[in-house]
């Protein structure tokens, strides 16, 4: 399939739409159920609830699992945050149940990127459908106590987004900035790109978050070619378009690597650009926070995006 369109949509459109499949993720964050609360189970033919194997006995997690059981009559399918196997397995098992136009909803608020990357990969390689429409929903977070230090474990390409990684061309790295400045800097040191570009969320959830991002990443920003680009957290459409234009400028003379370390809507936009420009590499920086930051509350703000694929 090929990516055709990326547009911002409203919450109302999501709520009133009917979906063949809706995919949720149960975790310890309170916002893991925020979007599911707003949806009518009658409008979803096949709900899929995935839950992390890790932390399945935490109190918030148990409560979230209970919510999903009550709402959809389903317990989460357990999967490691580092694996995508059951994502593919579940989606492949449902393929024969759908007609030629498939509609999906994905709440990626608490979802590890390996999982929603897998969903995108699955769609890209389908031959059964004429169109696939996927609505992505993201509940913006309030970080009551900030975030603990993120320690980098490994750096790898997201599966299916390796791009042209054997290329001998110069390398342009495009960093999506978040609160983990020292982690981003360590990745920068490893990549040693010829050209460095960067973007961050503005407007973000708060002005404080914008300032914090710039402060945390000041050393990396010193190495950025030109200015650090401000892109809205609530518009994947705008971010996708802008990043696509950026890639168009550099792609003929340089191999491009995305390192999205900021908020998930920006990660999603980066992946969608990776689907449009297949030679682009999207890296994933895996690691752990020093402690689980449980006080992450959902805000009222949502980012909802409709992505359309055609055969």
């Amino acid at each position: 399939m090929r990516l055709v369109n990326v547009v911002d949509i409203t919450e109302e459109e999501v709520v009133k739409n009917e979906y063949n499949v809706a995919i949720f993720c149960s975790g310890f964050e309170r916002r893991a159920i925020s979007l599911a609360k707003r949806l009518d189970p009658q409008k979803i033919s096949h709900p899929l609830i995935f839950g992390f194997i890790e932390g399945k006995n935490e109190i918030n997690r148990i409560e979230n699992d209970e919510f999903y059981k009550l709402k959809f009559g389903l317990s989460p399918i357990l999967e490691s945050k580092k694996s995508d196997k059951s994502i593919y397995h579940q989606l492949n098992s449902l393929t024969s149940k759908f007609n030629r136009k498939l509609t999906l909803f994905v709440d990626y608020s608490s979802m590890p990127r390996i999982w929603y990357t897998a969903i995108l990969n699955w769609i890209m390689y389908q031959n059964e459908f004429k169109t696939v429409t996927i609505d992505f929903g993201y509940s913006l977070a309030e970080y009551q106590n900030g975030l603990s230090l993120f320690t980098v474990d490994d750096i790898m390409s997201l599966p299916g987004f390796e791009g042209g990684s054997i290329s001998q061309m110069d390398n342009t790295a495009i960093f999506g900035l978040g609160f983990d400045g020292s982690a981003a800097l360590s990745v920068f040191d490893k990549l040693e790109p010829d050209t460095t570009l960067a973007f961050y969320a503005k407007p973000g959830k708060h002005v404080d978050y914008e300032e914090k991002t710039l402060a945390e990443n000041s050393e990396l920003i010193d190495n950025v070619h030109g200015r650090t680009i401000a892109l809205p957290i609530t518009s994947v459409e705008t971010t996708f378009r802008y990043l696509g234009e950026l890639v168009s400028v550099y792609k003929n003379n340089s191999h491009i690597t995305f390192v999205p370390m900021g908020p998930k809507p920006h990660v999603l936009a980066s992946l969608l650009v990776g689907l449009r420009f297949r030679m682009v590499t999207c890296l994933y920086v895996s690691g752990e926070r020093q402690k689980n930051d449980k006080k992450i509350n959902p805000s009222e703000l949502l980012t909802t995006t409709r992505v359309t694929f055609e055969s």
Binding site: A118, T151, D154, I166, Q168, D189, T281, L283
Partner: protein, 595 residues
Amino acid sequence: MDDNIIPFERDLFEVDNARNLTTGELVRTFVPTDNFWRLISSKNQIILGSRGSGKTALAKMVSHSHLSRLDSDYAKKVISGQKFIGLYVSTKTEWVGALKNKGWQSEEERERFFQWKMNISTCLSLLVTLKSCLKSFIGDLEKRVRTERQIIVELSKLWSHNEKTCHSIKELEEYLDRTGFEKNIEIARRRALGDESLNSIVGIVFDTGLFQPLRIGIKLISESLGLTEECAWLLAVDETENLDEMYHRILNSEMRADPGNLFFKITTMPYCHYTLNTNMAVPLEVNHDFEYVYIDQDDNLFSLKKIKNHPRSLVETIFRKRVQASGRRYEGITVQNLLGQSKLLDSQEWDFSIDSKDMKLLETYASEVVKKKASEILQRSNADKHKEFKNQIGRKVRGILTLRDAISNHRGNQNLDIYSGVSMAIACADANPRRLIRLYNKFLKKVRIDKLDQSLKTPILPPHVQNDILISFSQDVFNRFQNEEGLGPDLHRFIQTIGEYMKKSLHENPIAYEQISSIRLTESSSELYWGLVKRAIGLGILYHNVNMENPNLMPEKEGTFRLAYALAPYFKLLPRKGDSRRLESIVIPKTKKLL
């Protein structure tokens, strides 16, 4: 400034990494040392160097495309003699990233994919070298184009299993690039649809023994260009610290086997040649199957002494080459007139008069043992007593006393100027070219080029400005590794504790003959600490003390390791070897993660 040298458009002081220099820039600014010439040989070698030590520069310069442009009589002789032809490939982060994300593969599948990827990457590198060889060996343009076409037609058929015929190097490069990309797509497709078999048809020729497609290509090119059997092909594989131990084993197997005419120059960080094992029954034998070339702590990069057969020192040459290549911006500026002398490191005459500053410093800060010895020497009646004093005490303690005094008397708003001077900058660079260039860049950025005095008064950059730069640089070095993969925070805490101990020892205790600036490990030291020390050495945060008594360049646990001089300004130490302490006698907080 030589008017015949055409400068590059950009300021090369802003590019501290060989990876980011163009071929022309790297060649123009490269200073070949003995270590480099060792690599132009029919031997398998593993080049060990900490981050920023110049491994990539060395590896790239081995390649024909770079060596053929080096302005050196010996290089010209090597190229025209057609005895050595080099090629370069890197297992950089993005390259390895595509290996690591296939956690579902079995070990056999992972090996096969690694071999596939390495095969296609080395074939791409061969094309770069072919382009350079054609230019060097065939002067006539028409003949060169014909020869290129003839070689590429054959190569493309061989490498595409007769599916594709290319007629130019560019076309074949694009085909290989595309094939690499399609392989990843094919794997992703099979995974998404639930068929995880690796029986793939994409790039089937590369799914053979490691380096077989490369060797076939080398044979074809050698025949076409009329190269003799004596011609050795040198494959530089850069950044292999990124590879897992399994892949090192695979590469080791190649070094163990009969090389034919292909030899390996593999770069990695110290202690990051993870195994000597091979896929055969017999492991690698050091100095038989290969040799280590250790490039850290090159004495030439610590000193202002002229290098052999050269009018100036290596550090001055590095500076000068970059100045020349960056145009007239920095005309007239040398390292000496930019930075001047160092109060702490350059020797000055000791003032023996009773009320001199030197004697007062001794009285104020030195330990009783030192003061007693000083008094004893000075009370002698022999004519050499001042010379004896200088050799036994003055030379050792002067810098430390001056540093201690400067820090003790420093008050918030005052400008500290103690970390300044050429010697200081060179020391703080730790013989690490990347750090040295980074420092040069920071210094030059502070120079108002448009307001330079015609007479270029030394130092051009005021000492207090240099001091601020060095402290900021040192802090950056210290902060930068705290997020290293795996054990960054533990390593950061480890170095912080050691550094604070050394700082306290220097600034709060009476001064002995030497500061404490090294740690000592023994056989009984814990594996946890040893793991942290190895990692620190790889990053250039610790260095082992190599001397006549300890000539081992790569000790296994038992040894003495000094704190990087780059951290001296941050911890308020002198960038100089000093005494050591057993690591266990320095209190180390518990670290949570083991290596």
